[in-house]
Symmetry: C2
Amino acid sequence: MMSNPQAIPLEVPVRRKRNPRGSLNKEVILAEAFRLCREENLDELSMPKLAKRLGVGVTSLYWYFHTKDELLQAMLAQVSDEFLQALPDHSGLTWDEHFRRYFTDMRRIFLANDVISDFLVMYTHVSMIAPGGYFMSRLNREVGILMDAGLSPQDATRGYQAMSTYTTGTVQKIRQVRLRGENPNLKMFPVDDLPVMSAIGAEYPNLLLTSEFWHRTYSTDVDYEFGLNRIIEGLRSLIP
Amino acid sequence: MMSNPQAIPLEVPVRRKRNPRGSLNKEVILAEAFRLCREENLDELSMPKLAKRLGVGVTSLYWYFHTKDELLQAMLAQVSDEFLQALPDHSGLTWDEHFRRYFTDMRRIFLANDVISDFLVMYTHVSMIAPGGYFMSRLNREVGILMDAGLSPQDATRGYQAMSTYTTGTVQKIRQVRLRGENPNLKMFPVDDLPVMSAIGAEYPNLLLTSEFWHRTYSTDVDYEFGLNRIIEGLRSLIP
DNA sequence: ACCTGAACACCGTTCAAGT
DNA sequence: ACCTGAACACCGTTCAAGT
């Protein structure tokens, strides 16, 4: 045992060895932030966690992004791009078939990529898509297809918004269930529990009749397509 | 100046005077929690803030609610009740007129009460409505109206879900805009800025044609009703 | 049985450094 | 110009008390 006559603390705090000058930049921070979101989720993204994964001091991040919100905005821009790139482009289809494909594709992209959903449909503290070029050219094209089908400019706009809102609405419900860690395939009623179901059925006959069709998420793929087709048929009824 | 020979700290920490025994209970905590949510919003609800408003120690709250989530669940139960109470009951209407009223009423309640929206459409960490009595009797009734109109049990269920998802989808978009402190009436394009609009119009003619119809929230009241009517017309097309 | 503060591990962010 | 830790005001929650 060594004596310690001058009361110098035995445990000298281990100072992280200083990282070299150009080791950090916006790109590597963004990439690691996305990796974190993919492994956990957007709610779990924090500056300290991110810094630890990168092996840098927390405050180093603030040199590149002055606030967490600035980082989120940069992520949002990248996510919007990725989303629009992933959305396929069809041609030569009738207007109704076009929108069936367009929105089921959109929904598929959201459901296959939770980070995209979190940024583009769930969250609120990241402000909406800045009308950049590609986004506007898409909108221009889609609303044009509805006008070519015979809808007025106003009805075309409203029609697009209705299909879009319905689509993101189903995505939101599924994402909520996933975030809660519940099984998205769960039904709403205990259809296999016969005593319970017959008790329900005694009081609520229509729920017994429909019990197998209610899902926690409110929307299987075919349920979604049913709803989308209702909007499309409803739009068709406006065409002279 | 008084001397302080025994090094007793001059500033004795002001101890809060102990609150009497029965001063706190679940009801007053819940009431204050709702007041806080109404004045700020659900995101701003924290245990320390709530305790300070009640004039009690933070930890006192944990005697009545073991976690913050337990408090949120209790609030959710109360909010669900309030929501279902507020939702009017019609009768003697045709099925299509019934659902027009039912869902515009639902939307009106959400938009008039942000706390209800936050619990029932925005949030995710509070798990969904436990199928209590009144909720199930409502569902039983509504799906019955669709079946009476001539839809199959499956289509009736899907139809209800489509209208419901579309409705909460529009509410979510509006709440997001409000939470960001933006003006919900703002249009998407700067329609009054003629130079900018003509530049947009040169590249995106359909957006120029429809520019006045795009809103940040994606849904004015009439836009919403347009979409709802599309679903209703789409459902009508399934009736023999 | 009910109410209390101290304490802990987390946040986002600021600041005054070091190199 | 870039990287650093100490420090601050916030969280939710635990614990060992006090009455």
